[in-house]
């Protein structure tokens, strides 16, 4: 009897070990045979929207951390303000705008099936932050926003910002070797979200997934509206103070006191 039970356990243990080995082999053997760094596409991310022509006339806002004590004062031109805010922990307010350039590297061609956001951290209500910094906004030609993503969806995926009957789908096209495709993505949230981009690809009949980060970090977006902030109005070269929600900005030039 005891011998029979012991024999049964050996089968269970053996089967489990076999399952673990099989799973590991399924995951790792293909990776060993086909090294990971051979990506089928090159990806370049521009996360400073003030340098992207499509968004040149937009308003850019950032919520700075409450504890922010930057080593330098905020600059005055909008592209530099965006970089400065990101460098000092600023979170994109209302929307994150990313220009993503993909270039085919595979001789087999790369079918781009979709673009999603993989959420790393999400809070339904926006995390309270500190002072806001705002710049940009101006007159001129408007380029309609092409691709949008609602980060508050259960599975956020990129789609045309303007839905039009009869239009070809956004994804489902093939990038041949050397061909480039540009996505100008605007992602929005009412909460606070940290996220990365997932590109769904098919290369040579095999599904692939490329995770795209913001130069090694997640993208960060918040719906928090700070009751206190500073702004450089379009066409001016000084900061003004803004108070309230929605903000009402003064006209007197000030030095952002919080960052002295």
């Amino acid at each position: 009897m005891l011998q029979s039970v012991s024999k049964g356990w050996w089968f269970v243990v053996g089967g489990t070990v076999l399952a673990v080995i099989g799973t590991a082999a399924g995951i790792y053997v293909p990776k060993v045979l086909d090294p990971q760094d051979e990506r089928p596409i090159a990806i370049n991310v521009v996360s400073n929207p003030a340098t992207v022509p499509a968004w040149g006339n937009d308003v850019f806002s950032f919520v700075m951390p409450k504890t922010a004590r930057p080593a330098t004062r905020p600059p005055l031109d909008c592209p530099s303000i965006v970089d400065w805010a990101h460098r000092n922990g600023g979170v994109d307010q209302d929307a994150t705008r990313v220009r993503l350039v993909a270039q085919g590297l595979s001789d087999k061609g790369v079918l781009i099936q979709g673009m999603r956001a993989r959420i790393i951290r999400r809070s339904e209500h926006p995390d309270p932050g500190g002072t806001s910094l705002t710049c940009g906004g101006g007159q001129g030609t408007v380029t309609p926003r092409q691709v949008a993503m609602d980060l508050d969806e259960a599975v956020p995926s990129a789609e045309y910002a303007i839905k039009v009957d009869g239009r070809l789908p956004l994804f489902g096209f093939t990038l041949e070797k050397g061909e480039t495709e540009v996505f100008e993505l605007t992602a929005t949230t009412k909460g606070t979200v940290e996220w990365v981009i997932d590109l769904d690809l098919v290369v040579g009949g095999e599904s692939q997934n490329v995770e795209v980060t913001n130069h090694g970090k997640p993208f960060r977006t918040t719906g928090f509206v700070s009751p206190h902030g500073y702004r450089v109005m379009a066409g001016t070269d000084h900061w003004v103070e803004c108070i309230g929600t929605p903000p009402s900005c003064g006209t007197t030039a000030v030095s952002p006191a919080d960052f002295r």
């Binding site: 399952a19 380029t143 309609p144 839905k163 039009v164 239009r167 490329v210």
Partner: protein, 319 residues
């Protein structure tokens, strides 16, 4: 025993299941600018001589005649000899087109449209409303135009029966605001009448307007693409839209579906503004409908229709 079999099956499933290959990118890859993808069509420059000249001159489809307006209309032969002339009361020209069958020249002025019969050399005023951008149908039986944009921004479309001189006007089109230039009204300089005068398409920025003449139904078909200019072929079957940031969108009129989108090569931006590289560049279908000419700089571009392959033009004398 069943349990063991189950575990073994799970093991097999786990081993055989193919998960998508995962890779990561920090978004710092260099994008190497390569030359435009090789073209599979090569044609001599001479193949498009007439088509290019038709863009800025009033030429008949076979190139036999050219119409010029100097105080009055003068029709010249290919050799530059005067073929005929006729006067007009108004100086301002709103449009001109030769009929595909070679029988007529139609000219539009603020007071009327004049039909000049190339067989009898006789002009005939049609006393239509003032229309611009006039164009014959493929069968030469109808003319289409739209009310003068300078007079009315959302002008009505007008179809004229060439044989009888009778015309019919569309309902007043909706006021369409141009998406990439808020405050500016939609404009169309490319019209087509087809289906024995029963259908009209007007192509311009952001999309095209379709008019079912008998039912008097106007339908706006937006592309949602921010196109700045557009054109419809004479047959009224295809609309090409130029999107300023390097794209061309081709629409099937009957199906009201986007048929193809292709990238246009990099070109120097207008006024140094990167996003306006193809701003103001107008597409033109050739008369046979097989090619699309993109006007603007360095001799322009030629694309095959509908597959969107760039045509490499051989230097002159190398055909």
């Amino acid at each position: 025993m069943r349990f063991v079999a189950g575990v073994a099956m799970l093991a097999c499933l786990a081993a055989c299941h193919s998960t998508p290959k995962q890779t990561t990118s920090d978004g710092s890859d260099p994008i190497v600018t390569t030359q435009a993808s090789p073209t599979s069509i090569t044609l001599p420059a001479e193949a498009f001589d007439l088509s290019w000249r038709q863009l800025d001159r009033h030429l008949s489809q076979d190139g036999r005649f050219e119409a010029r307006h100097v105080n009055e209309w003068v029709v010249l032969t290919r050799d530059g000899e005067e073929f005929g002339r006729f006067g007009t009361a108004a100086e301002r020209i709103l449009g001109a087109d030769f009929s595909p069958d070679g029988h007529y020249l139609a000219v539009a002025h603020p007071d009327t449209v004049i039909l000049y019969d190339l067989r009898t050399k006789q002009p005939k005023a049609l006393f239509t409303p003032p229309v611009e951008s006039i164009r014959f149908s493929s069968d030469s039986a109808y003319l289409v135009g739209r009310e003068d944009y300078q007079q009315v921004r959302n002008g009505r479309l007008v179809v004229i029966d060439v044989a009888t001189g009778k015309w019919v006007t569309s309902p007043v089109p909706p006021q369409i605001e141009v998406s990439n230039d808020p405050g500016k009204y939609w404009y169309s300089g490319s019209l087509a009448v087809f289906d024995h005068g029963k259908q009209v398409v007007a192509a311009g920025s952001d999309g095209f307007l379709h008019w079912a003449v008998e039912s008097q139904k106007l339908s706006w078909v937006p592309c949602g693409c921010g196109a700045d200019t557009g054109a419809v072929n004479r047959a009224g079957s295809l609309v090409a839209l130029v999107i300023p940031d390097n794209r061309l969108s081709l629409w099937d009129v009957a199906g009201r579906r986007e048929q193809r989108v292709w990238a246009l090569p990099e070109r120097p931006p207008l006024n140094g503004d990167y996003k306006l590289r193809y701003f103001g560049v107008e597409p033109h279908f050739t008369e046979d409908g097989k090619w699309l000419l993109l006007d603007g700089g360095e001799g322009g571009q030629v694309w095959s229709i509908p597959d969107g392959v760039r045509v490499q033009i051989l230097p002159r004398g190398k055909n």
